[in-house]
């Protein structure tokens, strides 16, 4: 069987479409429609004159799929390469599903920890601190810090995936996202400490001497610790805010 090459135009289309991976996010297949949509230009190239096989390939990608959206680029790139091999008769079609299922959970966990647990808090708190100087400076910092890394991971992950599953695994090892996660968590903690210090200094100390300042600091640190303990006991920020709202309403009444 002759191998149909992936046209540069189709590769660019797949790259662009990965940004809509969650365009039809649903509780059943989650990102399945988004994934099938993203890989469709490549499938059209590979199965140009074989509509039956094209249909089977599309159905393969309408199976359940869910991962961290930025990490989806890596799986998408590697799936394109696998589909190319399937179309050429070099690989069993079931390998595509096995590969996706095998990788989406672990990449989802790595991506959630890196993007949602480390990079986003770091970018958010950096933005919030700089917004105290000027709102636009804060917004620029937030968007640049987050997207500088986010778009790089998408671009490099997609390129590595396009080298095939072996390239994807090699890139994951080289990227060492677990080490980068720890570094960014450390930076986020430093910036969050600075944020708490600035606000405690501004709101809690309204005059008085060093003793008053010290007691304000201890009170602020105790409040942060209390909130963290509550989060650990599965109390959500919304529940804490609702409680504070209730207290506020009582204050207005009394």
């Amino acid at each position: 069987m002759t191998m149909q090459a992936l046209a540069a135009r189709s590769r660019r289309a797949v790259w662009r479409r990965q940004f809509l991976l969650q365009g039809c996010w649903n509780y059943e297949g989650m990102q399945n429609v988004g994934f099938a949509f993203a890989i469709l230009p490549a499938l059209r190239d590979f199965y140009a004159n074989r509509p039956e096989e094209a249909l089977k390939a599309v159905k393969r990608h309408l199976e359940f799929f869910n991962t961290q959206p930025a990490m989806g680029a890596l799986i998408l790139g590697a799936s394109v390469r696998l589909e190319e091999r399937v179309a050429a008769g070099e690989t069993d079609p079931r390998a595509v599903g096995t590969f996706k299922v095998g990788l989406m959970g672990s990449l989802g966990a790595i991506g959630d920890s890196f993007f949602w647990g480390a990079l986003r808090p770091m970018a958010s708190v950096a933005g919030a601190l700089l917004a105290l100087l000027h709102p636009l400076l804060g917004i620029a910092a937030l968007l640049l810090i987050y997207n500088g890394v986010h778009l790089t991971v998408r671009r490099r992950g997609f390129a590595a995936g396009m080298e095939g599953p072996e390239g994807a695994v090699g890139w994951l090892r080289r990227a060492a996202l677990n080490v980068r996660t720890d570094d960014r968590k450390m930076l986020a903690a430093i910036l969050a400490g600075a944020y708490a210090g600035v606000f405690a200094g501004r709101f809690l100390v309204q005059g008085g001497g060093a003793l008053r300042a010290l007691s304000s600091l201890l009170l602020a640190a105790a409040a942060v610790h209390l909130f963290v303990v509550l989060f650990r006991k599965a109390v959500s920020p919304s529940e804490i805010l609702l409680f504070l709202l209730f207290v506020g309403v009582l204050i207005l009444w009394l």
Binding site: G108, G127, A131, A196, G201
Partner: protein
Amino acid sequence: MAWRFLLAILLGGLCYLDRTAACQLMLHRPLVVATLMGAVFGNMAAGAQVGVVLELIYLARLPVGASIPPDDTGAAVFGGSAAAIASSSIGLDTGSFTALLLLSVVIAEAGKAADRFVRKVNVRIARLTAESVDRGDVQAVEHGLLAGLTLFAVTGMVLALVFSGAGVAVSKELLPRFGPASRGNFAILLPALPLLGAASVYSCSRTERTAVVFFLTMVFVFGGTVLFRWSA
């Protein structure tokens, strides 16, 4: 005022799309959204003031798997528009600021319910897509995605209209009912909110090493801030 709402709908819809359906470039973060809404309703700085605090509060709830975090984009639409209006009429005193931040939790939960609804409707779209593909229509995948995307966008625009309207209504009707003294009493809760935000980031980034670093930085920056204020 109509053109302001129109702009809020367009910008809000765009930010809501970024939240789940498209790109995830962080255009939906409260700092961005509240500042934009503040600018649309006449006071960018007041919007940003709310955005800075809201930005961190919900970070502890991660969008992992099928769990949906509270709608902090909606909270920012409400808070940003309300802060801009409140600051232009009665001045954004600390009591009003605190009230807006606390009221935004109701909006965040309402937005979360709307998000759940959209994702449930998307199940139907995904099923229809799969059925069409079974019948041999490969293009149904593109139509299905477009339908899902449209649903997210329309819902986002409707939520932006409703939440910005609620913000304007609260600022014009509810806040002026309470006198400055009542609002002043309410403001005693304000220091808890940024600290809740800091705790939210800290709980995300908590490892064995970060606890010491967090509290040491807090002490140094607090000391610097207080010394700066005393010397000024």
